[in-house]
């Protein structure tokens, strides 16, 4: 067929190119922040931990890092807005059918929870360095409620991570995104990257090992969900089948997508192997240099994998559609 069109817009023709790296970064950091909320809460609440109360030895930096990363992500999302000075309009209405509207309002719930949790988790040696009396007194007052705040953070971390996938999955016009599996992939990826940052930041060996073990299962789940996502599209209609083709076509136009699936196929299994080597090896009280290298480098691989998943899906999703010439 020969096709000529008079009146195309560059943003939608020949393919939709609306959202770019800014949205991908937001989705990655949003998922990571959710993962950090949940993982740090798990670290505090898990029975049998050997690192004592969080205030004294465990990684208090994680609850502080979560709102910072979410803020950076939201900053990139704000950069993507065409009318940056009109952001307040998100809060002038609530649209129950709009996932973007939920997202805007959920942030208002999540931020206070994150900040209260971060304050409650501050250890005494950090609190003595705080000069602002209000912050110091608030942190002291919140410390007894740390367990309750951790439970809330565990739940809302899951909600934040899964939300980033729900946002994309509701776009019926973009077959690659329009899958109920996608939120689960973003959830698994968010939790996995959260565990990876826990491994990097934590000083305590027991914490590092616990999250290394946990991350093996999270990555396995992530890989299974990726396979299910592709399988679901492969068995779907023509538009869904076409939506995954960029990942399996190494031609010039689709090479970045092909490369992304190759990268994910290398870094995540490699991370599993490295983690497996570490958790099955002999352990002394101190972390050996090689052990530290295995744990930290596998965690970096997980972060790379998580970022690649967001970038690949944001861009490839916009390539997918029901075409200009469809009856």
């Amino acid at each position: 067929m020969e096709l000529s069109i008079t009146g195309t817009n560059a943003i939608t023709y020949p393919v939709v190119h609306v959202w770019d790296w800014r949205v991908a970064i937001y989705l990655f950091l949003g998922g990571l922040a959710g993962g950090l909320m949940t993982m740090s809460a798990i670290n505090y609440l898990r029975p049998g931990k050997k690192c004592g109360p969080m205030q004294s030895v465990c990684c208090w930096q994680i609850p502080v890092l979560a709102p910072i990363l979410l803020s950076i992500g939201l900053f990139f999302l704000w950069l993507d807005l065409e009318r940056k000075l009109h952001g307040h309009l998100f809060y002038m209405t609530f649209k129950p059918l709009s996932p973007m509207s939920w997202g805007a309002w959920i942030v208002l719930i999540i931020y206070p929870l994150m900040i209260l949790y971060a304050l409650a988790a501050l250890p005494d040696e950090v609190k003595v360095r705080i000069k602002n009396a209000f912050i110091k007194n608030t942190a002291d007052a919140l410390a007894p409620h740390l367990a309750k705040l951790a439970k809330f953070n565990l739940v809302f971390g899951v909600l934040l991570a899964i939300y980033t996938g729900i946002l994309l999955s509701t776009f019926v016009a973009r077959p690659l995104w329009n899958s109920a599996i996608l939120p689960l992939l973003f959830l698994a990826s968010g939790m996995s990257t959260g565990a990876a940052v826990m491994i990097i930041v934590a000083k305590n060996k027991e914490v590092k090992l616990f999250f290394t073990k946990l991350d093996i299962w999270l990555i396995l789940g992530e890989l299974l969900i990726i396979a299910l996502l592709f399988y679901g599209h492969y068995t779907g209609d023509a538009a869904h089948q076409a939506a995954i083709m960029p990942f399996f076509n190494s031609s010039h136009d689709t090479f970045p997508y092909f490369l992304s699936i190759v990268t994910i196929g290398i870094v995540l299994p490699l991370a599993i192997v490295m983690k497996f080597l570490e958790v099955t090896g002999k352990h002394t009280d101190e972390v050996t240099g090689f052990g530290l290298f295995l744990m930290n480098s596998s965690a970096v691989l997980v972060l790379i994998g998580g970022a690649v998943i967001r970038f690949a899906l944001v861009y490839a999703g916009q390539l997918s559609g029901y075409g200009y010439v469809m009856m």
Binding site: L3, Y13, L81, E82, L89, G103, V172, G321
Partner: protein
Amino acid sequence: MPRYAMVIDQSRCIGCMACVVACKRENDVPPEHYRTRVLEMVQGTFPDLTTEMRSELCNHCDKAPCVNICPTGASHHEEDGTVQIDRKKCVGCKACITSCPYNARHINKELGVADKCTFCQHRLIEGKKPACVATCVGGSRIFGDLDDPNSEISVLLRKTSHRVLKKSIGTGPNVYYINQYPTRS
């Protein structure tokens, strides 16, 4: 209250593109953007060829994904069934552009807001037809009120076989196409 819709009789389109020009002129659409387009599709193998001219625009869907996804309520349904954008409420998040299966939206870079066909709402208020309909020399674009059984489009839709684009997506489009080309066997 009327329920506006458009019928496209493809057999009457001569591909003059006057609708595209009239739309841009009427609505001050920036040079690099369009609210309506015309597709010219040539199919088959020479000499057994068919040509199809098809005008496309916002379908003003009953279940518009753009209205559902809009976080600020800028994209909304009017009482007359049309989908409109309240520019004062639009933040330019572009979710509506991504959500439209018809690729009927774009960003007006001069204003930083989403933009699309309005069925020339300002003309409807004055009792006029949309600019593309008024200018169509072949009478390919027909506009009217679906709730009026005697309107031209109601009569046309009763008398002819017609279709909507991408019906299976379930958005309930309000731009109808009269079937001209039977399926080739």
